[in-house]
């Protein structure tokens, strides 16, 4: 043994400087995401541009009605720039984006950026509230089930999350509206008021309905990560060191388990946007989703294109935030 001692007097530290490595990874992530959002943005705008034009119906016909004269149709077509080739129209759309100009609504004449600016905050508020409520509910549920030694609790958890997932959002919304809105009168059944704390009474019910699908997914994923973590050997060291309860729950159970859930949540923002569009219609909220539905029905090309593009950017942005948060919580997550 003494030979070994002489040949290996000290531990060899063959590691890179952590700071530089982290910084490099973060910078790479940032650049990668900027590139990715550009490409996603481009393809989303191509698809939005084509889809609305491929679907049947002519915006000018819809605007002017069946009795419009040939001349007025022609003139409006020219005014809206629809008499040029589809390539010219696409070129105009793309160059407009880079100048911050998403075009004007065919009908109201408002700029798309103005429409988005007025209505997007409502939608974002519903989404933010859904995420907040969802996380507040999912974490204690997953923790309680994971720590419970009773098998029945796990069965009940599995069954109830499946049922909740199987119920469609619009059904939950209508039941919620009948119960909380009309019977208990806890939430107004329609309408909206703009300022922040006051508008919450219009928003909490739609957000809660969104949680009907969000909480089962999040709590299931978190539960399974927690079960894996509980099996890990490092939990033993936490027990032995006798760390405080809060510290144990956070540093030894939740934090090593949260990353998959956080990343999933950020990717679910796209699904949440879809759900929120339906909620806005049912609850008559002046969100961007309702504007989008109206615009699709009336073939309001610029509004549809603009709003779909914004949705794409939001989804990419949230997935970036999710990956970053996952990495900050748990360094085992690799940034790619």
């Amino acid at each position: 043994m003494s030979n070994i001692n002489e040949s290996f007097p000290l531990a060899d530290v063959a590691v890179e400087e952590p700071r530089d490595k982290n910084r490099l990874a973060l910078r790479r992530l940032l650049y990668g995401r900027i590139l990715r959002s550009l490409s996603v943005g481009f393809w989303v705008s191509v698809i939005a541009f084509l889809m609305i034009r491929l679907s049947p119906g002519d915006p000018v016909q819809i605007a002017l009605g069946a009795e419009a004269t040939e001349a007025s149709v022609k003139q409006m077509r020219h005014e809206l720039g629809l008499d040029t080739s589809i390539f010219q129209q696409f070129y105009n759309f793309i160059t407009g984006i880079f100048q911050g100009d998403l075009g004007k609504s065919f009908y109201s004449g408002r700029t798309v950026t103005d429409i988005v600016g007025t209505h997007l905050p409502v939608t974002l508020m519903v989404i933010a509230l859904s995420i907040l409520l969802g996380v507040i509910m999912a974490i204690p549920i997953a923790l309680a089930v994971a720590l419970s030694k009773n098998q029945l609790v796990t069965y009940f958890f599995r069954a109830s999350t499946s049922i909740s997932l199987a119920l469609p959002g619009f059904f939950l919304a209508l039941v919620g509206l009948l119960y909380f809105g009309i019977k208990l009168n806890w939430a107004p059944s329609a309408g909206y008021e703009g300022a922040f704390p006051g508008n919450l009474r219009y928003l909490w019910l739609p957000a809660l309905v969104n949680c009907g699908s969000l909480v089962p997914v999040l709590s299931r994923v978190l539960h399974s990560s927690l079960m894996d973590t509980l099996d890990e050997e490092f939990v033993e060291t936490g027990v032995i060191r006798g760390v405080s309860k809060i510290r144990f729950y956070w540093s030894y159970l939740l934090r090593p388990s949260l990353a998959p859930t956080v990343v999933l949540l950020s990717y679910m923002v796209g699904v949440l946007i879809g759900g929120t569009v339906i909620m806005e219609t049912i609850f008559s909220l002046p969100g961007i989703g309702r504007e989008l539905i109206t615009a699709v029905n009336t073939k309001d090309y610029p509004v549809v294109q603009g709003v779909v593009l914004i949705f794409g950017i939001i989804v990419v942005f949230f997935s970036f935030i999710g990956d970053l948060l996952g990495y900050l919580l748990d360094r085992r997550v690799t940034l790619s």
């Binding site: 000290l10 490092f234 936490g238």
Partner: protein, 328 residues
């Protein structure tokens, strides 16, 4: 050297089981018996499932979270029976006089804490002089980590396996423990790193008089570094003795383990393996649990309960009814 003979830990007739609400309690350890004296390095050897790790968990008080329970026997340490301690009392006791180095270097450290944070946790109740930072540096020095400033800020996944295990040893030493339990501390590490870690453990023992329990399935390793050996098979201690005594085993299982050692195998000859597999937990046969694999078995081995350790406690003990047949 007078301290050498003072008994620090006594595991007496320990029985551990996993209770089940509907089925019978699953017994995983029965008849575990051994002592650890001050400043001594004791190796516990046995196949997987022999209950080595469970015995250790009963010493550090983490059986409960794995669903297991002490059903009988005693674990005497510092005048207390650890087998009888309630969870609330464990909270005061843990991390004070017993240090623990977990099984796998890869899964041992908490992945979301930096070295600094891990050490700060381990040092929380330290009464040694100096700030947490100073004590942390001293501990890392002690386990011979060179670039302390770098390592302090690193997360476990940025460290090599050997480094992680050094950090874990540093954490285990934070409370200046009388007893250090290292549960297969070199699993998954390559041979040079393994010998460095073993070297480190020996130095810690020499410098601080810390008693060390080294769990391993590698008899050659235990032979190299330990004073005494505890051989476990199917949840029971089958033989206890000093490393020199173990050269002439008194139990057929130890004999078989000795014969199957790769390091002493004659080149060109076929490797000796132990007959059959260790009986699974819950499928123990009556009588001696080694009987199915034993080449010395007789009719009386197959009846009654598992034989106890024969001989005086502290001497070379064996749990074989026919131990005399093995001599010579």
């Amino acid at each position: 050297m007078s301290e050498q003979n003072e008994t620090l830990l006594q595991v007496i007739d320990l029985k551990i089981g996993i209770p089940h609400p509907r089925r019978e309690t699953l017994i995983i350890v029965d008849n575990a018996n051994f002592d650890v004296r001050s400043g001594e390095m004791v190796g516990i050897v046995g196949e997987s499932g022999s209950g080595k790790t469970m015995v250790c968990r009963s010493i550090i008080g983490t059986l409960e979270r794995r669903g297991a329970k002490v059903l009988g026997g005693q674990v005497l340490f510092g005048g207390q029976d650890l087998a009888q301690i309630s969870e609330t009392n464990w909270k005061k006791l843990r991390g004070k006089s017993i240090g623990y180095v977990p099984q796998s270097a890869l899964a041992g450290p908490n992945p979301v804490l930096t070295t600094q944070q891990q050490l700060a946790e381990a040092l929380r109740r330290s009464e040694a002089p100096g700030t947490i930072a100073e004590q942390s540096r001293r501990l890392l020095d002690l386990v011979k980590i060179r670039r302390v400033d770098t390592v302090m800020k690193q997360y476990p996944n940025q460290l090599s396996g050997g480094m992680r295990q050094r950090v874990m040893i540093a954490c285990a030493l934070a409370s200046n423990p009388k007893l250090l339990i290292a549960d297969e501390p070199t699993t998954g590490l390559d041979v040079t790193v393994q010998s460095q870690i073993m070297q480190l453990l020996q130095e810690i023992r020499a410098d601080f008089g810390t008693s060390i329990i080294l769990i391993s399935h590698d008899l050659a390793l235990i032979d190299d570094v330990c004073d005494r050996v505890v051989v476990m098979h199917a949840g029971a201690t089958v033989e206890v003795g000093s490393v020199t005594e173990m050269v002439n085993p008194k139990h057929p299982y130890t004999l078989a383990l000795n014969q199957s050692r790769i390091d002493i195998a004659v080149p060109g000859s076929e490797l000796v393996t132990i007959l059959g597999n260790a009986p699974s937990v819950g499928e123990w046969n009556p009588g001696c649990r080694f009987v199915e694999r034993c080449t010395f078995k007789e009719e009386d081995c197959k009846v009654g309960s598992h034989p106890p350790l024969f001989g005086e406690r502290g001497s070379h003990q064996s749990a074989c009814l026919h131990r005399d047949k093995l001599k010579g």
